[in-house]
């Protein structure tokens, strides 16, 4: 299945905090809709489940 990213500025790093997905933000993106990366804002010390 193919999925195209609609908007790079709308991409976010999310982390499961035990109860819900928390928004870790978007400080930068690379690439394009077909292949790219998004970087969270700031840092985290607890990792776990990400999406």
């Amino acid at each position: 299945m193919n999925v195209t990213i609609g908007s790079l500025p709308d991409m976010r790093v999310a982390r499961w905090n035990g109860a819900q997905w928390s928004n870790l933000g978007n400080s930068a993106t690379t690439g394009a809709a077909a292949l790219g990366t998004v970087t969270q804002t700031g840092t985290i010390a607890n990792y776990g489940v990400l999406d």
Binding site: T4, Q20, W21, G31, V38, A45, Y47, G48, L50
Partner: protein, 197 residues
Amino acid sequence: MNIGTSDTNSYAGNLVFNNATALPITAETIKFIGSTNTNIDQLGTGSVIIQKPIVNKSSGARVTLNKPVRVTSACTFVTGYINSSSTNPLIFLDNIGHTGASNNSHVVGCITKVGNDIFTFPVGNGIGYHPLAITAPAAATDSFQACIILKHPSDDGYNVNSKEASLIQVAPYHYWTLNQISGTNSETISLGWSIHV
């Protein structure tokens, strides 16, 4: 046991060891080739160490790690994939990296990284490259393990509908886990997407 010294050794079949002590494969390069799925196994108790693995399998074939495999020089991804798990990961030691990861070649599963370098975990789903990257940890002894989990997050209890309002949608195709094995650090995380999900 030494396999080669400076040449490339190519394997189209399974690579199975049976050593009771650490296995210092001194070959410059171990290339995994062929169009069929194969595995790396160790029947003994020794560590499996490969200095320079090259993943160069055709037809989307995979090499499955049945034991942890340590990379001590560099790993090159060309075509094909490595299947790994949290108990049998691909391990990059301090100052060791990789090249060539793409939609066509990466690790499907788990990778452990030791060291204090910026590192991109070259993981994906077997058709698309979905890396996870961390900033540099503080100490050379720090280590992290990252996995890509090819399941809907909700199926594992991470309900995609339970989210902060600022998140438009949580992607349902897969998710990642990142755990610090050694050390205590604060890192900045990057995640990768591909059109192939």
